[in-house]
Symmetry: C2
Subunit: 357 residues, 2 copies
């Protein structure tokens, strides 16, 4: 496909992925890892699939401590296209900073934000959805790509889809955003057919986004525009910015005012939020290996093995197990309990074992 005119891809590369410990660490977060066995990190795969739409119009926003690693992984991206955040300020500041810079360099820009640590199985479907979303965004909407729910997940937020837009077939008003639901609620959402997963893929004109932000968080919008006008002010202004997610800062209140649209799409999307999710993404046999199968010796076992410790991982008679081997820590859990890995990381921090987190 030809690139979408004036379309800018913004990739917030943050989050530590603690539920993927000990693979993902605060110093080497999830987006820097190859979690699909493709030979490319999640960040690299994200940039790869955005390139056909955005060409070289790409901005990555990441923590200052990860900026060198990001540049290493993305040799095709110019250094001034990778913005380093002095400290974590959540997704609104990250995406908002990119928006504030873009409204200065390209008055016709439409930006799309895509997390650096998700997977998309169907790139063609993504391109179709984003192309439509960009058209809708040009008319002033804040557009979110609404993922067709593959199951009644309690791990994601949802958007409730309303009526179709008059001018844009295939795009719909968003009635509201809802937080991660209970299992019962998630089932009712999926059965109703009216809900989509909110994957944080927002498509919007930078000025629309910042003006919406300015109506609820004027200081934050002003701070971001101040940095864009004078990048030398970054270190002074950044610490004063409100730490808030884009969903709470803009998407939810804008939906209440009828300013948000959604383009539903079936993308084979996953956020690889934990090892259970990683198992699903990998597919294949009952025993799935992310790494060299020669490093695993198994007898009557199922589940997921990630052999990254340079050693043999041997299994006998364990079902739905998750074994993640790294040079300084080995994790053993089950697919069912994978979401609780985060508690280990909390305990390690309490124990002062920051060397392991």
């Amino acid at each position: 496909m030809p690139a979408i005119e004036h379309f800018w891809a913004v990739v917030p590369a943050g989050g530590s992925g603690t539920r993927l410990w000990p693979l993902s660490r605060s110093g080497s977060p999830k987006f820097l890892h190859d979690l699909t066995g493709s030979g490319r990190s999640l960040l690299q795969e994200t940039v790869d699939r955005l390139a056909p739409m955005a060409g070289d119009r790409l901005l990555v926003v990441t923590g200052a401590r990860h900026r060198d690693r990001v540049l290493e992984q993305l040799p095709e991206v110019a250094a001034d296209r990778v913005l380093g955040e002095p400290s974590p300020r959540d997704s609104m500041a990250a995406i908002g900073l990119a928006a504030a810079m873009l409204e200065r360099v390209d008055p016709d820009a439409v930006l799309g934000s895509f997390a650096a640590d998700h997977v998309v199985g169907d790139r063609m479907a993504l391109e179709r959805a984003v192309t439509l979303a960009a058209e809708v965004a040009r008319d002033g909407w804040l557009v979110t790509v609404g993922i067709e729910p593959a199951h009644a997940s309690t791990a994601f937020g949802y958007v409730r889809q309303g009526g179709e837009l008059e001018d844009h077939a295939g795009a719909y008003v968003v009635e509201r955003f809802v937080e991660k639901p209970s299992a019962d609620l998630a089932r009712s959402y999926v059965e109703s057919g009216a809900y989509r997963w909110n994957a944080g893929m927002f498509v919007v004109r930078p000025t629309v986004l910042l003006d919406l932000l300015a109506s609820w968080h004027p200081d934050l919008a002003a701070g971001l525009r101040e940095i864009a006008a004078d990048p030398g002010r970054l270190d002074a202004v950044w610490p004063t910015l409100t730490t808030i997610a884009i969903d709470h800062a803009v998407a939810e209140p804008a939906a209440a005012e009828g300013r948000v649209a959604t383009v539903p799409a079936d993308l084979g999307w996953d956020d690889i939020g934990d090892f259970h999710s990683l198992y699903g993404v990998l597919g294949g046999a009952d025993l799935r290996v992310l790494g060299d199968p020669g490093d695993v010796l198994a007898e009557g076992s199922t589940g997921l093995v990630v052999p990254r410790g340079g050693r043999l991982v041997a299994l006998v008679g364990v079902d739905d197990v998750v074994v993640v081997d790294t040079p300084d820590a080995v994790l053993v859990t089950t697919r069912d309990r994978a979401q609780d890995v985060k508690t280990l990381v909390d305990r390690l921090r309490d124990l002062g074992r920051d060397d392991l987190t």
Copy 2:
């Protein structure tokens, strides 16, 4: 207690303990390891508990390749008391070689053989049993210490106990030896009250043992006596010796002729045959650690962890799991499947991964 006069302890230190892989390796077998957390290896503990009965009358018989490690672990034992077998020839050759040497150095000797890789919880009970067994052995019997079965094990052979000896209260004729039974048979053995576990603890006069051997395996008995008469013949004669266990070579046929007695005893004995057995021996909480508990971080998990890889072992929500971490291999299995660990070692050998076995 005072030592038992002319009592010689013979410790065959062999077997690779493949069901305890990756802790036990062919180059570093089970008996060299501390498997109880005492700070002493199984071999050292074995020698420690024999010393009150045997004083310094101790012979260790081990593979030539392990002799240096054995001497290192037993600095109190003179070098000529540790015999190195040029190649594995099973327990008859090992114990028979010690017997052949002892009948030359001490005509009044009674020997007791005790595997180097078993545990005994009740040393006083062992001393009482061996003291009685030595008295019975002086009258020409081949005596076995019969372990009170703690459960219907299918992992051990049994002896069927007959009538009490006229001259020795507490000692009984052995009607026969039986091989490892099926689960049903094991239950019936234990319910009958007439069966004891055969732990391979034989007490006998050396000449009685060798003369019994000579009646069924004359070449083997002659070969052992030839080596004892001229140790320089070891390398030439040893490879010609029959490879056979003492049970088959002597104990079973001698029982058929009414020449075997047993002294039943409740010793808290275990052969630590696999990690399930090791779990039982360690006792304590639902999650048992052989090693530094600081190397284990667990959340809602039970089973056994052996952290020997210098790394953190982290568990979340796994029950009855067995995790054995070593520098070049990590094993994950369950207590139920612990006996199948051996198959992994077989597969590693088939794969030519002798570096790991």
